[in-house]
Assembly symmetry: C2
Homo-oligomer: 440 residues x 2
């Protein structure tokens, strides 16, 4: 079983900052973040992960804690104070240039000696587009089309230096065998990039590729490129269908299904008894602010809910294919509200902790049971752990659930490999240029 920590200074619950255990000063405090990363490494987690958004809304910051440290910057710093744990940064293909992104990940992979991962997103809100010269977020399929071209370029750039290109022969003055350094000469619809990269091949060859799109476009993209997939699933059966679907798509792209690691998000709340856990959850829920929750939900689904009564039902939303923003998440939210006949107010509470990810409030045993069930019943290869409250809650998971998973023989007790790709049991990528070479 693989475990990724979705790192959050204060906690994933939207009211975590108001909890007595949270220290708001720690939100962008490096010493605090370093402590969290080191704890996760002591527990032998595969990786830690930082999400990202490219905007803050003036309305939302009134109620919601904002921690906007840029992921690659922060992970570069964390690479110095950790040795084994993988470091996964979110970077959007919609608001960046492929040359820069390829280079930053290669830099992090060098600095961390092979521990870099990239959570590839296309971003999904108008608020973000408005920080990048646009009025609205481009259509879903346009974003994925750009993402695909973006990936093709970065893959070639990472391959543009073969592993043995550098000779550095002081006597002759030859630094590199430049028959092993390649221009990529990409000219496409969205980009033109000549290459080569200005940085030699990194320890992993390229970062681990992670993706979280769960729409039709998203699943195809993930099946084609992603080596690890984040997803939000509310039930075992939904998770099983997603798992089967994506593994089958990967096979269609000629990939081995085992080389695609599926990691549903889990929001654990752990108590000495189930009742205590539920009470912890209720305590956090009480600290939510409906106005803020509503802003967050409206933003997530790209539909302004502010004029609808909180105690009424969710209004009819546009058809999934018509949604420009985050399609699969919007559908998950709509399905959830429908299935459980939730009012908007009830829905807001259901989303306050995990934004659509599954919450498990119970004892460490119960959490381990559920993870074991999903893992053994073809719903997950591991999990993306999203503690509701960091101080206390993260410790509960690492100190109680991880040892229980280890006792059951489900989780490693020591790192056996060095790179992030080693931890996930993934093959080293083959250099596309080097291959051509062999046949020349």
């Amino acid at each position: 079983m693989h475990l990724n920590l979705f790192l959050s200074s204060l906690g994933h619950h939207e009211a975590a900052w108001r909890h007595p255990a949270a220290n708001v000063e720690e939100i962008i405090d490096f010493a605090h973040l370093q402590g969290l990363a080191q704890k996760a490494e002591r527990a032998k987690l595969d990786s830690l992960f930082l999400a990202d958004r490219y905007a803050a809304s003036r309305k939302a910051v009134k109620y919601g804690a904002v921690s906007g440290l840029e992921p690659l910057t922060l992970l570069s710093a964390l690479s110095v104070v950790t040795e084994r744990i993988g470091l996964i940064a979110t970077v959007s293909t919609s608001f960046n240039e492929p040359f820069n992104v390829a280079r930053r990940f290669a830099s992090l992979d060098h600095l961390s000696q092979g521990r870099a991962g990239w959570n590839i997103i296309t971003s999904g809100t108008d608020g973000e587009a408005q920080n990048f010269n646009l009025e609205r977020i481009p259509d879903h399929h346009v974003r994925y089309e750009r993402a695909q071209e973006f990936l093709d370029i970065t893959l070639k750039l990472w391959d543009s230096w073969e592993a043995d290109a550098i000779i550095h022969d002081k006597a002759s003055g030859i630094y590199a065998d430049n028959s092993k350094v390649h221009e990529i000469n990409h000219k496409g619809k969205h980009f033109a990039v000549r290459g080569p990269l200005n940085l030699s091949r990194s320890p992993q060859g390229r970062p681990l590729l992670v993706q979280a799109g769960s729409s039709e476009d998203g699943k195809d993209f993930a099946a084609k490129y992603a080596e690890a997939i984040f997803t939000a699933q509310q039930s075992l059966s939904d998770a099983q269908s997603f798992y089967a679907d994506v593994k089958a798509r990967a096979a269609q792209f000629g990939r081995s299904p085992e080389q695609v690691i599926i990691l549903p998000g889990i929001c654990p709340i752990i108590g000495a008894s189930e009742a205590e856990a539920k009470e912890k959850e209720a305590q956090l829920h009480e600290l939510t602010h409906p106005a803020y929750s509503l802003l967050q939900l409206s933003n997530r689904i790209g539909f302004d809910l502010s004029s609808y009564p909180l105690d009424g039902p969710l209004p009819e939303l546009p058809a999934t294919e018509k949604i420009a923003g985050h399609q699969s998440r919007t559908q998950l939210i709509r399905d959830l509200a429908e299935r459980e006949h939730l009012t908007i107010r009830q829905l807001l509470l259901r989303l306050a902790g995990g934004r659509g990810h599954k919450t498990i409030a119970g004892t460490a045993q119960q959490v381990a049971d559920e993870l074991e069930q999903w893992f053994t019943q073809d719903a997950a290869d591991g999990f993306n752990i999203m503690p509701q409250l960091t101080n206390g809650g993260l410790d509960d998971f690492l100190d109680q659930v991880v040892p229980e998973l280890q006792r059951r023989g489900l989780f490693r007790t020591e790192y056996t490999g060095k790179t992030l790709r080693d931890h996930y049991g993934l093959d080293s990528p083959v250099n596309s240029f080097a291959e051509t070479h062999q046949y020349q």
Copy 2:
């Protein structure tokens, strides 16, 4: 006197990697870079600085060592292993988006507790443009126009959170006083950015702004925005004119000339005697490869010299205003060749060490004398130190010249401030939004 280390793994001389003292494996080795940064900090230098280019040429990598770690990534990592020294990263306004750049520097400023600086460049070669969807580098004045708009946006983004905007009152659930969080609503020729930044105000308010343009456009840009200015000057009198010119321009923009720190580049080569120093220089020169030197020079001046005889003169170059790339450097090179009647081959050797920056080969006393002269005779507020060879050469400067400057009372013996801005004696920036506030 202020001292900045222009950080280079192996050395600034283009043949440094071939020198017996250089260990080529150290070129992108974090432990090595960490050691250099810590040495510079022990010597109480104001800052260290990383240059950047956005391309590597297949032809050039045959002979030239390539270290392409992305500066902000590397400096984030170095921020963890240093405490006081300033960290200046080069980022181009031509190949990035202002929102991303504002955020990364704010992140580094938070992580380093107020030690971030930005060397603002516009980049100047076609090879770089070709990695960013363009055939040729945009015209000089277009690049500076974009740079100006870019700066205006980033300045507003850094001000978009007032210092006291965050209240985080757990009881009421109010996180920020959002009357102190501002949209910037920028709509200009090159960019449209709404803001606010998604990160709170950083310790320095914004990074130290550094710039190195020395053309007419460049000097105006520097005089308007830059707090520290890098420049290449071959002689005391040239440096004095530049110094007077830029300080006067700063005054014209309503700025205090003392708030603009001018730092010419110096390439020290230190020996127990002058003869020994000159011999060290000759030893490095012997390791150069004319084919490589010629590529570097052609690239720098944007003019292909490969068909001209090495033992003939520099051909006529286009008029300075017609040069799309690096104007002032091209002019410096042309002037140097003319003044000293150099053949191309001789010129290549003159540029091999400092690419146009001044080389001083002599005893530690002689180097200190020259720095003192420039400093006391209105040619410099400090220097940008570019050791020709890092292993050995950097140590010579830090262990011999710095103590000599300290004995003469010219350089600090302890850090007195905490931030990069403190080290350079610069005022804290006033928040443009907060000012408006007071008068409302």
